[in-house]
Amino acid sequence: MKFNISVPCLKSNLQRIRAFIIDVLREQHLSEVEVHSMVLAVDEVCANLMIHSNNCSPLHSIDVIIIIKGKDKIVFDIIDKGRGFDIRKYPEPDIKEIIRMKKKGGVGLMLVKRIMDDIDFITKEDYNIVRLTKNLQPTG
């Protein structure tokens, strides 16, 4: 099953993306904490792409496609046409250093890496895909 949403690259649209993911995942019999952590991971990637790859331009859009692969896994494809940025190459920062430097950012992709089981970055001719995969725990 495949679901998708497309929104302009405005941070105020992050809420729409989150609501869309919650709606889709509601049917999947997952725990609230599990759904919430996946919503968070996708939100972090979208915020990053909107801000750093698309300069928050409403003329650019970002697409989120959710692919439910049976009961085993969920794949999130996040597609944009901005400046490509391979998030897999992002070095994990030291939290204590961030605190010492009083930095306000830098832990978003760390969350994504800890929540998702697999992260892929695919560059096509005129768009990029960040593919996040979450393996589901078998229930009862």
Partner: protein
């Protein structure tokens, strides 16, 4: 969208956060927390009972004031986080770096211990 109310009772300042703190709304949390920290309010309680969502932008705000809170000897505690929100702090181990407790009473007794 988030609404933040600052309530001052004697020496205790409470930030009541209601709504969602994401990349779009974290600026409001930054302004509110920044004002009470720079003010040097001695006790800051963060009421998270109405906080439905927090992303790294919100976590970043809390992290960026830890140094100032410590330097100014401010006692700060977060309380009332639901399981989903608490999990976000736990994923990064921030539960070890910030005082996070269940209720306002727990927050006050923890602050009085220190």
């Amino acid at each position: 969208m988030v609404q933040i109310e600052i309530i001052k009772e004697n020496d205790i300042t409470t930030l009541n956060i209601v709504g969602e703190v994401d990349a779009s709304s974290s600026i409001q949390l930054d302004e509110s927390l920044g004002s009470v920290v720079s003010n040097g309010d001695p006790i800051i309680l963060i009421d998270c009972e109405g906080l439905n969502y927090i992303s790294s932008a919100g976590l970043g705000v809390f992290m960026s004031y830890i140094e100032d809170v410590n330097t100014k000897n401010i006692k700060m505690a977060l309380f009332g986080l639901n399981d989903k929100v608490k999990n976000v702090f736990d994923i990064l181990g921030l539960d070890q770096l910030l005082t996070i407790v269940k209720t306002k009473e727990d927050a006050l007794s923890r602050i009085n211990e220190v």
